[in-house]
Symmetry: C2
Subunit: 153 residues, 2 copies
DNA sequence: TATTGTTATACTCTATAACTATA
DNA sequence: TATAGTTATAGAGTATAACAATA
């Protein structure tokens, strides 16, 4: 058993916690919050989507999506449009404000990321990057196997 | 501007998200949840504490602590005891069950951490560790300066 | 019948403000 | 006066279940 693993885990959680708090604080006055930003981000990546698709991808209930889309719509970031072929469904699309906002977020994320690693030299960066990739992959294996074990028949 | 920073940031957030979901899922049936575990963890580290101290350390309201301690007490993890010298205050202490639980958590965390870095060699581990330390320190600087700017006089 | 989205309801975590008991 | 804890109230995010419209 490698004791460095536990310290690395601690550090990861600490870092994530600080980043999340910083992000949450930055939403003040925008009509956004973590949950809405996750949805906004998904719309940016996947483009116009039905609420069912959003619910599945985010792993939350359709009822929850209804509320989140309401929130984005109320603040002008997204809007509901009729689905062209399925009259049961709605397509959630980014408005102009939504598109501008995600562009700003992409830039902000890039800048924040680059500031985060200021002071690391190229070699350190490379090692950090590959190390995190390895951890992410390992984590995916671990949680997947645990999930499958517990959700067995 | 270094584009690797953004990818590292993405990876960090992904990893943290997976770990959090895995942890949250593991609490099923224990009467615990993220908020209560944070408090349990703090009691483990700091020992018996007043609710005011817990509120300050966790950065939440005293009313919130009341509810969380209620939850831990209801499930047998902690109990309220009178403060020996200040009759306004209560000391929240871990019960035997609480102590056992945090011991199990410490071991589980160590094991999970070591599994997480299985497959990395000593050199990779060292680089990952120091890289994360550097990022955590940088992050602390960044959020501190941003907070001070925004919360000016 | 099955699916899409909404509504009704409930639970948890959180905050602020008013209150009691004590310092 | 000030502090420790509780209660009342409110708001957000989440879930499940029942429902209407459509496929």
């Amino acid at each position: 058993m490698n004791s460095q693993g536990a310290e690395i885990l601690d550090r990861l959680m600490l870092i994530a916690d600080l980043i999340n708090k910083d992000m949450a604080a930055s939403f003040a006055g925008t009509g956004l919050n973590m949950a809405r930003v996750h949805l906004l981000w998904l719309l940016h990546h996947d483009g116009a989507s039905t609420q069912q698709a959003l619910a599945r991808t985010l792993g939350v209930s359709p009822a929850n999506i209804t509320g989140l889309v309401d929130g984005l719509e109320r603040n002008g970031y997204a809007e509901r449009r009729p689905h062209p072929t399925d009259r049961r469904a709605t397509l959630v699309t980014l408005t102009e404000r939504g598109t501008e906002t995600t562009s700003v977020m992409v830039r902000g994320r890039a800048e924040f990321g680059s500031r985060l690693v200021e002071g690391l030299d190229a070699e350190q960066l490379r090692w950090l990057h590959t190390g995190l990739d390895a951890v992410a992959e390992r984590l995916d294996e671990l949680t997947r196997s645990r999930r499958d074990t517990q959700e067995g028949p």
